[in-house]
């Protein structure tokens, strides 16, 4: 009983060590209780919005604590700035947009990039500016991009500014996408406030399937593979080439299952609340080239970069050479968005170069047969996986060390020993490979079969899934990888 009271008490406090994630069982129980209240509001009620915003802010408080105040401040300023931009015309309108963007980006730049800039300035000019201990507010990269898209859309007159702070607040704080996306556009989302989805049993089953698969993807597959990846990257010099190569595959799968698992849970919860968010992943590792990969991977970010960076720069309207430069710059910004580190910049630039090379040497009209398709898929997967090494490694040095070990110390016979040592990693890699490389149509067939199950089996499915997760997990749950961005 004491333990129960202690846990209830703990529930209302923010803990830096244990921020709230979708994967917390406490969150799932709270969500169920929240839904009971939510069911009794009429679909277009302002009270319903208020209820959802209050829960979303509590969710953000449990994830980020005092940074809730910053978030609320950003929302209120954006709301006012958008209305102001809308009321102006000509150069004043443009100037205010730039001021708004600068203001919106200032928090992101301060929290995420100031230490990076200071470190590099010190290294370059031999200065001794001191770095600060900064805690990155969770989800700041996502909500900053979301608010920028809103301001720019208002400026472009693609959308009317929201006349109701409650509605704009709801769009920004909606907890399913709040801390790790998908990045939702106001023009897609705000109309749904007035016309929420009719939630029926078909949608209920779809949402339950999304939530369950998301939990399994994240907690069973990604976290388990993550432990192996951590082991290798923590002391890269202590492992063989095969172990490093398998860590590359493991991380490629881990990041996919981690982030797509989060997106699945977010989309599933949003569905129950009556809102449809766009897909963020579409079988990305079955892409036969790098261009297609970026249409299937983190779709909401790719589209954001396309619509707010690449096309405004000039897109393909200013000649081929400029198009390649714009493409490169867009991917560079994509890399920087992921983190304040040269390895992310290198990762973004490398993807930019790959996209340019693909556009240079392959014409979209070229017909491909099945074999070239398979070869394309394997090549793309390995190129992407290779670049993930820079994404995951703790530094440039360890990334190159890992690559060097793969190319110089790989003995295929080591695989036999590895199978004896870590059979569970091999098994999980095989399972993950089967899942990611299965064609979409086959997956859809399986999904349709699962969706045809009667509703009463879903509590059992969820119970079994949650207990299985408990059986296989150890002392801690990994935070979602994309929480750090």
């Amino acid at each position: 009983m004491d333990q129960l009271l202690q846990d209830v008490h703990y529930f209302f406090y923010y803990s830096l060590k244990q921020p709230w994630f979708f994967t917390e069982y406490g969150f799932l129980l709270t969500l169920a209780l929240f839904l009971v209240g939510y069911a009794f509001f009429t679909p277009k009620s302002q009270w319903k919005l208020g209820y959802l915003i209050a829960f979303s802010l509590f969710f953000y408080y449990k994830s980020s604590g005092p940074f809730l105040l910053l978030f609320v401040g950003v929302i209120m300023c954006d709301y006012l700035l958008a209305r102001w931009i809308h009321s102006l015309e000509g150069s004043k309108r443009k100037a205010l947009l730039f001021v708004s963007i600068a203001y919106g980006l200032s928090f992101l730049l301060y929290f995420k990039y100031s230490n990076f800039v200071i470190t590099n300035v010190n290294a370059l000019f031999d200065t001794k500016f001191s770095t600060k201990t900064l805690f990155l507010p969770i989800g700041i990269s996502f909500y900053t991009f979301q608010s920028l898209s809103y301001l720019i859309d208002v400026y472009r007159k693609d959308i009317e500014p929201s006349k109701n702070l409650l509605e704009y607040g709801f769009y920004m704080t909606f907890f399913p996408h709040l801390v790790a996306g998908p990045i939702v556009r106001a023009k897609d989302f705000l109309p749904q406030i007035k016309n929420p989805l009719h939630f029926d049993q078909a949608l209920l089953k779809e949402s339950l399937l999304r939530i369950t698969t998301g939990l399994v993807k994240k907690l069973l597959i990604a976290d388990f593979l993550g432990k192996y990846v951590d082991l290798i990257h923590d002391a890269p010099s202590g492992f063989s080439g095969i172990e490093h190569a398998l860590a590359m595959y493991a991380y490629s799968f881990q990041i996919y299952f981690d982030f797509s698992g989060y997106s699945d849970i977010a989309i599933g919860i949003a569905l129950i609340l009556g809102y449809r968010m766009k897909e963020n992943f579409f079988n990305p590792y079955t892409a036969e080239n790098i261009t297609v990969f970026w249409r299937k991977w983190h779709i909401s970010l790719s589209l954001w970069l396309r619509d707010y960076i690449y096309i405004p720069l000039g897109g393909n309207r200013k000649g081929v050479v400029n198009m390649y430069i714009f493409l490169f710059l867009t991917m560079l910004i994509g890399g920087i968005w992921h983190g304040a580190d040269w390895k992310f910049i290198f990762w973004g630039c490398s993807h930019g170069v790959l996209l340019i090379l693909h556009k240079l040497f392959f014409k979209p009209s070229e017909k491909t047969n099945n074999w070239t398709k398979v070869l394309g898929i394997l090549l793309t997967f390995h190129l992407v996986g290779f670049l993930w090494i820079f994404f995951r490694a703790t530094s440039f040095e360890t990334a190159f060390e890992s690559i060097q070990v793969i190319f110089t110390k790989t003995n295929p016979l080591d695989l036999i020993g590895f199978c004896y040592t870590r059979p569970e990693v091999i098994l999980l890699l095989l399972i993950a490979a089967v899942i990611v490389f299965t064609p979409w149509k086959m997956k859809q067939n399986v999904i349709n079969r699962v969706l045809s199950l009667p509703l009463y089996v879903w509590p059992i499915i969820l119970l079994v899934a949650l207990q299985l997760i408990l059986q296989f997990r150890d002392n801690s749950i990994e935070p979602f990888i994309y929480f750090q961005f």
């Binding site: 029926d200 209920l204 923590d234 002391a235 202590g238 408990l470 002392n475």
Partner: protein, 298 residues
């Protein structure tokens, strides 16, 4: 009731029901089993595998019963080893022995702390048998899976362990994860830091039971330790487990005999450590498990 409202309530029930069951089980004073497996609880505040020992986590570890800890270790040790079809490792026919010289040392009861990487997990029971039979107390074992000297040198775990358990003798086993390392200067720095942490506490630094030729880590350790406080294990011919790296149960016993012989006969501060006549005594001390892949400590 309209259909949307009904569906939302159904969603609440379907999500809430399984989680409610799991939380009820979490707070219930029973633990269920399924075959040989324990049905695990959510237990949000008590980790199943203990975190690396910070001052606060020592307190939280208190909520794991000693039976549970023994269970974890027993699971670890009782895991069936797969015998590879082809292996160059052959079990030693006789256990390596150093000449015993117990008579030169008066009997002193020691409070022993065993710390190190995953190798310590296999040494726990043989060491416990030695301690019980020789009148020593195995105070605690800190097994830091996947750890290297960097973890022990740069973290403050060792300071905390010494402060908490106040051992009179420390046995430190590390190096199996560092066979291929070449950044020896950095390792030497960490080794020196580790040595400094031990202060005046007598210790035995046990080199790794090499599964391959190392790139110099044994030399680093030997150089870092005081004279008579380091023992090589790199040339021991001991049977290995299925991973070709760690010794198997028999291998750990052989290794423990070797370590004990060194303590009794060759150590700078020798004490009685005769081979036990009986084995499999109940585990005495506290066992703390951590994983360097999750918590590297610095």
């Amino acid at each position: 009731m309209n259909s949307s409202r009904r569906a939302i309530l159904q969603a609440a029930a379907i999500i809430g029901f399984p989680v409610f069951i799991l939380f009820s089980y979490n707070y219930a004073p029973i633990t269920l089993g399924l075959g040989e497996q324990t049905v695990k609880k959510i237990d949000p505040n008590t980790p199943i595998i203990a975190q690396a020992p910070t001052k606060t986590s020592f307190q939280s570890n208190a909520s794991i019963s000693s039976t549970e800890k023994e269970g974890i270790i027993a699971d670890l040790l009782n895991k069936p080893y797969k015998t590879p079809s082809d292996t160059s490792q052959k079990p030693a026919k006789t256990r390596p022995r150093l000449p015993l010289s117990a008579e030169k040392e008066q009997h002193v009861s020691q409070r022993i702390l065993l710390i190190g990487d995953s190798e310590t997990g296999g040494l726990i029971y043989p060491l416990n048998d030695y301690c019980v039979m020789n009148g020593h107390k195995l105070e605690a074992v800190f097994t830091w899976f996947s750890a290297s000297i960097l973890n022990f040198g740069y973290s403050n775990k060792v300071d905390e362990l010494l402060e908490t358990y106040k051992p009179t003798f420390v046995i430190f086993v590390v190096g199996l994860n560092e066979m291929y390392v070449t950044d020896l200067e950095r390792r030497a720095e960490a080794a020196a830091l580790f040595r400094k942490k031990l202060g005046d506490t007598p210790y035995l630094w046990v080199g790794p039971a090499n599964f391959t030729t190392d790139k110099g880590i044994n030399k680093v350790f030997e150089q870092s330790a005081d004279p008579g406080c380091f023992v090589f294990s790199k040339d021991l011919e001991i049977p290995r487990g299925g991973d070709h790296r760690h010794p198997n149960t028999e291998g750990y016993k052989i290794w423990m005999d070797y370590i004990a012989s060194y303590i009794q006969s060759n150590h700078a501060y020798p004490f009685n450590f005769l081979p036990p006549e009986r084995t499999n005594f109940k585990l005495q001390g506290r066992v703390i498990l951590a994983n360097a892949a999750k918590d590297k400590g610095y």
